[in-house]
Symmetry: C2
């Protein structure tokens, strides 16, 4: 077929799955919604070697139409559905990690599911297959992990349905998961995503060949219904942008394919092809069972409910969403991130800029970014597990960082707003193992922070710090960022709500050089010394002197505890006339008069 | 039923349509794709009175499942699908306008369509009904308009399918349309929207009760397929946000309804209800015919093709999109707007901030904004038609406007960037009828401009002026806006590309008061004199002196033709040391050395 028909949802079709292993659990398994399976089979594949400590296992959870074949086992093998991610030297490096990928309970790719023979009756389950939850899927995974003799998984990772399974793992068996990487997923589906699943099931179940799920007995399959379900799925996996790229230029050039469906437009022939192809390899009852399981998944509809669910998790988190994913939109990942932040869990997050929609996590387009994030995160998790602590990095001296470090007692918890590449946080980490969190908007900096083993979330400061509780951190730092912020009042309010103390540093417009430049030369001062930035292209949008800021603090009821004025060119502190003699100001602030510094005098 | 089931897509069901009139065209009608109808019936309703000049007729085009009943005719009558818009004192004021709303060709609400009897055979058309285009729908509309003795329509207006019909009217019969108001529509569907229609048709046509369209003969209807099509439709009419509002809090509280479809979740019971209800009132073949017509509609996939299509239009345009409409996303309206701007057509545009998705144009949520825009626009179109020209408004003197007016010869074409409430443009309009266009980001200002009879589009200057051709305007004005612009280089580049001359005004940081404030007081200068804005909450983000700007121009190869320096407090021109003595600067610029001022010396 033409490339237009390449499915991004790569699952191999029919070749014998020679590397698939089978685990049979021969005791009854009770399901959450009351069902009982008298035994359970799990089809799975593994890659790499389990080490002697059995602490290098990574469990990969597949998406709805995926299976155990996550990657090729050798050169002659078919490519897997996450070939880019798993293998020797790849982010999930099979030279280092022991990778396990099981097919889900309720699926149709080898693990017990509705199209398998019910050992109790000798007939296919069909409609008799009990209702399955995401919890049941994880319970069955866990039987396999037990059987492999693995106590703790270094990581559980998956996207879409696989992401939901990952979330369930981290909360159902918290002490068995060292780290979790849910991608393109959610703690609960949107009503819109739910609606698509419902229409898909209606299409299957109103197909006259469905026979209430007993179609196998009649020797037919609900092909139209399943194909229509799949067409809908494909629309939701792609973004509008990627559909435009794929189809707009060939809008009316339908491909000739042998189908009973409409093939009027190029996108029509694509959908017909994908729908028909899916019928050949997937079971309609499995589709109903698995979509129902994900539709019923719900870790909580309110922030508090979500926090309650996630509270029991003990792992480090890396959460990734994709900007054009409208099936599992980014704000749902942020809901999880926010709940974890509120519970002081260690979490990193990035909203990967992508045009690929929900499929983004399977595709190579943005792989350089999200693949490296996963690689770096796993490296660090693995290193921490071995070393039991922080890595020692070689970092050059930086006068402004040194000044800020002096202001923060060892052991204090710190939130760094606009943390950049993590220079300050990395220095703080070397001093103590206390809770440190960065917020940064630039993706490449987020990656650098993750690479340094830091916890960082990608977010826009201008949107505030709503996930954090009042005084959740001992210190909140805004280092050389104030002057780039639009809503100064809001950001400072938020900073001093979340931190017992705030530390702000900014360039001082009152510095004598700046004054003279305006007064004598009639030119706008250049605050970014040492750069070639001019008034028309500087990132700075706020211009203030120390006196302006002091005035602001007094007006807003902000306490000024400490002021460090620096002349950075002369590399010295300024004691006299700081508003005139200092080009950089560092201030320690707080909002409430009643508060004392006691709570943060941890090690001083 | 509970309010959850209130359909936003308001169409009355079964009551006798006592006000529906019928026009029968008894000659054969040839269709664009080769079909022939031996006669055509049109069901339509009218409101208000046609005046003696027959120039107050407004044609309203309904959406896919709509009909001729746009509003109630009296207090005992059912509400219509656009009750908020049409009636005495409403935006489409039936005290002033003669409103006509016909049902579309191919529909099933009284106008000739596939479930009507074919006069040639005495049987229902069914599958024999010929393929219909949007052009055919307009041709049939036009037969009705002819029959009513109307030569020119004051306005054609419609949303969704109705918007597409409006676009076709304006380009098919340009001399018969004075103004056009397409809402929530597009010159061609996205591949995503196309895909939904295709899946909907596949659901209908693979329903075994479809019988290749001859279901009426069998005494059945493809109820499952049509219901599934409707469920899909409903998902696409709502936004994710509005679905969350409607269903998230009651996620698992399904309503008990009598249906064969799944009713597991609240959204599931809603979809089942809407699907079943639609089957009672709509014909499956009509759904196939009308969706195929809109899917095939295409005014051009490239900017040039679109310009070619729209070139022949002669009307004034008001185009409205809705921010959360993902079925007809805003950028598609912008494509139309951009093509019209490139062709120097008179167009106003606003992207209405809304959470309601595609349904936004039918709902009351944002009615205050878009309803008033339509009312103001129609008022002005109607006034222009009567007066043949510009309205005279009473406007107070403003020194900076007077200065800029002096710089612009009468008859020059002007693009005003960040035009605000249209103060400058309104003054220009009073001087001449030449082409004037405003760009403004704030919706309430856009409304004010429309109310003043100006042509204004809502857009963000920082995204550039790509729709406009090089030197399309004699003058491009950036009045007191430069200092709020982030990407100064890009905006000025664009401005001087599109204008033969640019006029820029900005507050001068070099003004002696500002200098002294920094030098003597150690405080950041306040550029917005007369306001209470401070360094932390001013809209200004760029700070420059006249000398800085002159330097910038010389570096960028920008010619400075004229400089007006003003001391606004003393209300006088500054001749000496403008960089020190003027607080506001007005400059005339151009980019190319070869260009002369000749081309714009129109009336000087």
């Amino acid at each position: 077929m033409e490339t237009i028909f390449d499915s991004t949802d790569a699952v191999r079709n029919s070749k014998p799955l020679q590397y698939v292993r089978e685990f049979v659990y021969r005791s009854p398994v009770k399901l959450e919604r009351g069902g009982l399976l008298s035994e359970v089979r799990v089809a799975y594949e593994t890659y790499g070697e389990l080490n002697s400590r059995k602490d290098n296992a990574v469990l990969i959870c597949h998406a709805i139409s995926g299976d155990s074949h996550v990657a090729a086992h050798d050169q002659n093998d078919d490519a897997g559905w996450w070939e880019i991610m798993v293998g020797s030297g790849k982010p999930i490096d099979t030279d280092k990690y022991f990778v396990i990928c099981p097919n889900c309970l309720g699926g149709c790719r080898g693990t017990t599911g509705p199209d398998e023979i019910n050992p109790d009756t000798g007939n296919r389950y069909g409609l008799d297959f009990p209702e399955v939850t995401i919890g049941d899927i994880v319970d069955v995974h866990c039987l396999l992990v037990d059987d492999l003799g693995i106590n703790r998984l270094l990581s559980v990772i998956g996207g879409s349905l696989g992401g939901v399974v990952t979330l369930e793992w981290a909360t159902r068996f918290p002490d068995r998961v060292v780290s979790a990487i849910p991608l393109a997923t959610a703690a609960h589906l949107t009503s819109q995503a739910l609606a698509f699943d419902i229409v898909a099931r209606n299409a299957i179940q109103s197909d006259p060949n469905y026979y209430c799920g007993q179609y196998h007995d009649k020797g037919v399959v609900p092909a139209s219904g399943l194909a229509i379900a799949r067409m809908l799925g494909h629309i939701t996996y792609l973004s509008r942008e990627s559909m435009m790229k794929k189809f707009d230029s060939t809008r009316n050039q339908a491909r000739k394919i042998d189908t009973t469906f409409e093939t009027k437009f190029s996108v029509g022939s694509y959908l017909a092809y994908q729908g028909d192809k899916f019928v050949d390899r997937f079971d309609a009852n499995s589709y109903v069972v698995l979509t129902t399981a994900i539709d019923n998944f719900d870790l909580g509809g309110t922030p508090l409910e979500l926090q309650r669910s996630l509270k029991r998790s003990m792992c480090r988190w890396l959460i990734l969403s994709f900007t054009t994913d409208w099936l599992f939109p980014s704000f749902l990942s942020r809901e999880i991130v926010d709940a974890l932040l509120a519970m002081d869990k260690r979490v990193s997050y990035c909203d990967i800029p992508s045009e690929c929609g929900h499929d983004g996590f399977l595709l190579s387009d943005e792989f350089e970014l999200y693949g490296e994030m996963i690689r770096s995160f796993l490296n660090n998790v693995s290193f921490e597990l071995l070393s039991g602590g922080m890595s020692q990095l070689d970092m050059p001296d930086r006068i402004d960082y040194e000044q800020i470090l002096d202001l923060i007692p060892r052991g204090a918890t710190v939130l760094d707003l606009g943390c950049g590449k993590g220079g300050l946080l990395a220095r703080l980490r070397q001093r103590s193992g206390s809770r440190l969190q960065g917020i940064e908007i630039k993706e490449s900096y987020v990656l650098r922070c993750i690479d340094r083993g830091l916890d960082v979330i990608q977010a826009d400061l201008n949107k505030g710090l709503s996930p954090f509780a009042d005084h959740q951190f001992d210190f909140v730092v805004l280092s050389k960022t104030l002057q780039t912020v639009h809503d100064v009042e809001f950001v400072l309010d938020e900073m001093l709500r979340v931190g017992v103390r705030g530390i702000v540093s900014f360039p001082n417009l009152g510095f004598h050089e700046h004054r003279r430049r305006l007064m004598d030369d009639g030119r706008a001062p250049r605050l970014e010394s040492g750069t070639s930035k001019e008034w028309y292209n500087t990132a700075d949008v706020r211009f203030l002197t120390l006196a302006d800021f002091e005035d602001f603090c007094s007006k807003k009821g902000i306490n000024l505890h400490h002021c460090i004025a620096i002349d950075t060119k002369k590399q010295r502190h300024v004691e006299e006339k700081p508003n005139e003699n200092a080009d950089v100001i560092i201030l320690v602030l707080s909002k409430y008069t009643q508060r004392t510094m006691n709570s943060v005098d941890v090690e001083k």
